[in-house]
Symmetry: C2
Subunit: 430 residues, 2 copies
């Protein structure tokens, strides 16, 4: 019998115990003294070679053979394009590293999930294949460009994406796709699609359903609403945030209600009707984003020099994730950010004030210190915009305009539902 | 009749309308063309001088006379010390600026809230008077020092504090006060105490009650649990965060349940019994915090040079608020942070990985990119610690130890309940 290789199912026999799992490569830092086994629970354990009496091959790993079957078209069904960009939803376990990385494309989704064919005639395209922590503003431009190129040929578009920076990308698409008249639904998964427990299948089914039939012209996310597989939420692309590292229902609406539920049976129930309906107007693509924009977290004892650093590097705009209603240190001799705000103001560099609380709006007047930030420092208070959304928006606004007053005016206007002045009591932590 | 002055109640008569409110000083940037009036709603309006026909004095502002009545002691009641440090709970409207700034002391609280005398013999001290956005690590040291000095003379301590950085300060006190055997309860208010709608009164009553009688040796916050005045929550000082800019129930437990409810009738109902009880052991004060620590928000398109900036400035430790399970850009040619992580690692500078999701834990192995951060970059994955708490803890750990391995070990041990490995399904967004 052949020597067990990485990726094979094996039994590891030690003096005290037998372990069943998949043999993994040894991370370099652990040296060669341990065998690494991925247990059925998904966790890896290291077993000292000294303890191992035998490693028995149970089943050799099989190279995955991908069947490429051309997608068939059905009359009368809506047409949906799935743009896959990478992320966990496109991922499988990589036996070289034991980790997970992006591989599957939209065509594979249709193979794995034939139910999709009952919802829509699905077309597939794979403009990108990255994990979303590696996404940058040039990827936002690329994704928006692909959407604008294809939107007239379909009834709706689904974008599959990594979860990590999904809400940055949905905000970017929301701003870049002006006068969008069809649904552009971003979906993702928290567990890789090659696992039985993956949330990818329901998310994809609901997203394709929403793209096919929902009467909506705009950008939204579609992911699990709860930790069960009961329904998904459609959340506006500028009012959504990843609020949990691992739960299926990690994506939550912030500072407004979700737009609608997509039920497992395909029905869509509207929750918050404040959105644009489908229309035939032509889309305007504005997908240029200024790259020299910073997003800075304000904290006690922070070094004001970091703002000088950005100003000296030629940064064109700064978003501060401030505390509470938009506070910064202003009276603390060592940590006051007021001198930096004044310097930015003098240079015509907009400084946008948001809150690290995430929920609720900032306000330039309630406290004496807030007045100093707004009046002396020229801070632009971005209402109830999330820090991430204000960051994406500032990059976008600076891609369209450079005049300070125009930038300020655009930042304070709601372009894609990113500012909500009608807060309801039951929106908090839902 | 005298000319109305700033702070006076007035009626402003224009051609079309009469406005009632308090006459405010004109912000310099508005020039002298407008009169500013604070309406009863709390909002300010500007009225063009050209439109004003008359300003009629209704009631002149009265200088506030403070009665200092020495606090009386009752036999058998527990003794509670209120340390006031500033914040909205100590604030009143400042007619010079029209904003709110810190003024009231703990003794004033007892004057305003005589019910406190039925709960405890209250002593008062005012070691600080700042708004908490101006707080810095030296203030954390000062507050912890005051607590350590007084704790043996009382049954419990209440610290009143601003809300903005309250959770940074409670984390600091949690680490600095080792082997704390009595309750140290931080409270605050979202609306100033001179307003009828202030949340200060219930928060103070519940906090003093908890400090007086709760069988708890540790640091917790005590603030409104809901937007009504029904009860307060005691939340562990290392597992609490300000999650809303303005709601009374802004402070929420993250990644574990609140410890207990303090009901309006004074009863305390335990929710989560995983805390230390009161004990007579001696407190150990470890209140030195390293000041050169940075907390950096990771985002798409970020400039890796900001990490070089901190390293070159002699920063002793960096906390990254990364995405998802602890991701950073690692494969993006322009934005990868791996070279900076390797540089820090080479210099022996610890880089702590937390998640901007806030809820949930980070993990160094699930994804290939995470392995690169942990194995190649040496990132220290801080379990389910909040980014802010990891920042405060790193400053504290570096105040106690400088050896890299010791720092790493201490960061990964739960010193004050800041790491919780027993997550429950119903802890999310509560």
């Amino acid at each position: 019998m052949a020597e067990p290789k990485h990726g094979d199912s094996v039994k590891v026999v030690t003096r005290d115990k037998e372990y069943f799992g998949i043999l993994m490569p040894r991370p370099a830092m652990l040296g060669s003294e341990h065998a690494i086994l991925k247990l059925d629970s998904g966790y890896n354990i290291g077993i000292s070679n000294k303890k191992i009496k035998e490693i028995v091959l149970i089943k050799a790993s099989e190279p995955r053979v991908r069947k490429k079957v051309p997608l068939k078209k059905y009359p009368k069904l809506p047409t949906v394009l799935i743009l896959s960009t990478g992320g966990t939803i496109s991922s499988k376990i990589d036996y070289r590293s034991g980790g997970v990385s992006a591989d599957y494309s939209a065509e594979d989704f249709v193979e794995m999930l034939p139910e999709l064919k009952a919802i829509a005639n699905v077309r597939a395209s794979k403009p990108l294949s990255i994990m979303s922590e590696d996404a940058s503003p040039s990827d936002w431009s690329l994704i928006a460009g692909e959407i604008a190129k294809e939107i007239d040929t379909v009834d709706g578009i689904v974008v599959t994406h990594g979860t990590d920076t999904l809400h940055y990308s949905t905000a970017a698409a929301s701003f870049a796709l002006q006068n969008l008249g069809k649904p552009v639904i971003f979906t993702a998964s928290q567990r890789s699609i090659d696992r039985g427990s993956s949330d990818a299948f329901m998310n994809l089914l609901c997203a394709v359903r929403a793209a096919a039939v929902f009467d909506f012209g705009g950008v939204a996310t579609c992911l699990h609403a709860t930790s069960s597989d009961d329904y998904c939420l459609l959340i506006r692309g500028t009012k959504v945030r990843k609020m949990h590292t691992s739960r299926r229902d990690a994506f939550r609406p912030i500072n407004e209600k979700a737009l609608a539920k997509v039920l497992a049976d395909g029905n869509i129930e509207v929750i918050n009707p404040h959105y644009h309906k489908r229309h035939d107007g032509a889309i305007t693509l504005k997908n240029s984003f200024e790259k020299k924009v910073a997003l800075v977290l304000v904290h006690p004892g922070m070094d004001p020099g970091v703002i000088d650093y950005y100003l000296e590097k030629g940064c064109k705009g700064i978003v501060l994730s401030a505390t509470g209603l938009g506070h910064l240190p202003v009276n603390n001799r060592k940590h006051s950010l007021l001198p930096q705000l004044k310097k930015a103001s003098k240079k015509g560099i907009p400084v946008i004030i948001t809150s690290q609380c995430l929920y609720g709006a900032v306000h330039p007047f309630v406290y004496t210190n807030l007045r100093r930030v707004s009046m002396e420092g020229g801070g632009i208070f971005a209402e109830d915009m999330l820090p991430e959304v204000a960051f994406v928006k500032l990059a976008w606004v600076l891609g369209q305009a450079t005049d300070y007053e125009t930038v300020k005016r655009m930042m304070l206007e709601s372009v894609a539902g990113e500012i909500n002045l009608r807060h309801l009591d039951d929106e908090f932590l839902t």
